[in-house]
């Protein structure tokens, strides 16, 4: 079985600053893959590289067997056109720390936007699916509300529904609960747990160790742009091998 995401020696620099210094990892289909680590360790950058919001500087990164951002012919790499990149992004859903809902559209319009505009779906079909998705994230009654009329947790659940509307094969979560009140975190994690149970492949950058332990299939601890330790979340979190991991976990647990 081909890996859903495969990274081999992935490097990323912003100017002179090297943020990723050679990441090797593999995410299997239907796997819930958690990325933890201190801020500035490069985990969000790595996530953004997967759907080409950031370009990698060196190494190879592929999603579902296809290179991200490039096409290989012989031993030469050709940069993909913007339209080709956009085509590949359809299959990858992304959820942001700050939600990034479209504020001028209601919740249901946010969810309908991509299917209608990108896939050219009929509005009635898109609306029916959007209603179903909002119901799934527990917000059927908020369909007509603008994002400013929703709480942070509700906004993030709409954002998840919006990403799911494109029926992606891979979901990327970039610290989805970090901007939320502690009370609201649970609702979002419940939705994510449901997704995991349905067999969605998920890469989750998170500080929620409880979620990683319960739902995660694998876990990677990153620091300073490299993978320090990886393995089964229950093993890594309860019995870390590396000193750096121990120090980090002792602070957050």
């Amino acid at each position: 079985m081909t890996a859903m995401v495969k990274a081999e020696g992935v490097h990323k620099s912003f100017g002179a600053v090297e943020v990723l210094k050679g990441i090797d990892l593999e995410v299997a289909p239907r796997e819930v893959f958690c990325l933890i680590g201190p801020s500035g360790s490069g985990k969000s950058t790595f996530l953004r590289c997967i759907n080409h919001l950031d370009k990698i500087s060196a190494g190879r990164l592929s999603v579902d067997g296809e290179l991200v951002g490039y096409r290989q012919k012989g031993d030469k790499l050709y940069e993909l056109k913007d339209s080709e990149v956009a085509l590949k992004r359809r299959d990858i859903g992304m959820v942001f720390q700050r939600f990034n809902l479209f504020p001028h559209m209601t919740a249901i319009e946010n969810v309908m936007e991509a299917p209608v505009q990108v896939r050219g779906e009929a509005k009635a079909v898109a609306r029916a699916r959007a209603e179903r998705l909002l119901d799934r994230v527990g917000l059927a009654d908020k369909a007509g509300n603008y994002p400013s009329q929703l709480s942070g947790g509700q906004q993030q659940r709409v954002a998840i529904a919006r990403a799911l509307a494109m029926e992606p094969k891979l979901m990327l979560f970039d610290e989805p609960t970090s901007a939320l009140d502690p009370e609201l975190v649970g609702d979002v994690l419940d939705v994510m747990r449901g997704l995991a149970e349905d067999g969605m492949t998920m890469i989750v950058v998170t500080h929620e160790m409880g979620f990683a332990r319960e739902v995660g299939d694998s876990l990677v601890f990153m620091d300073g742009g490299v993978v320090v330790e990886s393995g089964n979340p229950r093993d890594v979190l309860t019995n870390p091998q590396h000193d750096r991991t121990k120090a980090f976990l002792s602070k957050v647990l």
Binding site: N51, L53, D82, S83, A86, L87, R89, R90, I92, G93, M94, F96, R98, N100, L101, F102, P103, H104, M105, T106, E113, A114, Q117, V118, Y146, P147, S148, Q149, A159, R162, A163, M166
Partner: protein, 314 residues
């Protein structure tokens, strides 16, 4: 259920929390300065009006020509010119703003150069240049589609439109650029992550949000444009100002006709300001929890709040 139990158990306690503390009745601060300054302002205004009414101005000429056919025609032409020039300005401005923000250095330089030139020269000069471009280009030749002398191709309307519209585009470009930059980068990222193209992202996500920032200064530009159209009399275009001037020369009331034109400009700009209010309200949707009431709603709620006490006592 529980409410019923409480009621039957403690019938005397119920009214106490409902009454609450007594409303404050205090004597408000008297603002004597306000009364004095208001009286002075009114007196000054009255004396100015009186001075004008006593001047050697034939005021009767203003109402006489106010709805003259030529004036009404001029008002129409002024409005037409304003709308069309602003349309050119807005479309051109958004295009130039997107060009300036483009990663392509050729495209952004072209936009920069355009704005540099058209913002840096007086619009009156630009109008005269457009009018006299026949000195440079004798013919206009678009192959099989169109061929004519430049002087007959460049009608006064076209000259006025190009002169005002292209100049306006340079100003609108800066307004639009500010608007586009005001939209959070996360919006573009979210849109790209959903697989939307650059163009779709701009049209569906960024521009509608940028409009909140773009509309208020654009309203200002429209009002400015309405008045700037008075310049196009130099290219033989007959709008409000030119018509008033012509009537003034034949009727022997030249200054009076300028006052008449000024009154019309004031009426038109007032109407435009109302339009701007509603446009701003439209683009504010989603950004604030409660939209401000429209003037009509304000009047309605005012009427209701006057009625309500009556209903209570009756």
């Amino acid at each position: 259920m529980t409410a019923d139990v409480n009621k039957t158990d403690e019938p005397d306690e119920a009214p106490t929390p409902a009454a609450g503390p007594e409303a404050i009745k205090a004597i408000p601060v008297r603002h004597y300065g306000r009364y004095v300054s208001a009286v002075i302002a009114v007196a000054l205004l009255a004396s100015i009006i009186y001075a004008f009414s006593q001047g050697k101005i034939n005021w009767d000429a203003v109402p006489e020509y106010f709805f003259d056919d030529r004036i009404i025609n001029g008002v129409g032409q002024t409005l037409l010119l304003t709308v069309l020039s602003m349309a050119i300005g807005v479309v051109g401005g958004i295009t130039l703003a997107v060009m300036r923000l483009s990663k392509n250095p050729v495209v952004s330089s072209i936009a920069w150069g355009y704005i540099w030139f058209f913002r840096g020269t007086p619009v009156l000069v630009q109008l005269i240049v457009w009018f006299n471009l026949g000195l440079v280009f004798e013919y206009i030749n678009l192959g099989p589609i169109y061929k004519d002398y430049w002087s007959s191709f460049m009608t006064p309307l076209l000259t006025a439109l190009l002169g005002l519209g292209l100049n306006e585009a340079a100003y609108m470009a800066e307004i639009c650029r500010a608007g586009l930059l005001s939209v959070d980068e996360g919006q573009t990222e979210a849109s790209h992550a959903l697989g939307m193209s650059h163009t779709k992202t701009l049209r569906r996500i960024v521009i509608p949000q940028a409009m909140r920032v773009i509309v208020p200064p654009t309203g200002n530009e429209v009002i400015n444009m309405l008045k700037t159209t008075s310049l196009v009399s130099v290219v033989q275009f007959y709008e409000l100002f030119r018509q008033a001037q012509d009537i003034g020369q034949t009727s022997g009331a030249p200054v009076e006709m300028y006052f008449l034109a000024a009154a019309w400009y004031l009426i038109l700009t007032s109407v435009l300001s109302i339009g701007q209010y509603y446009l701003e309200r439209y683009y504010a949707r989603g950004s604030s929890r409660n939209l401000p009431p429209t003037p009509l709603q304000k009047i309605k709620s005012g009427v209701f709040s006057l009625r309500r006490p009556k209903g209570v006592t009756a």
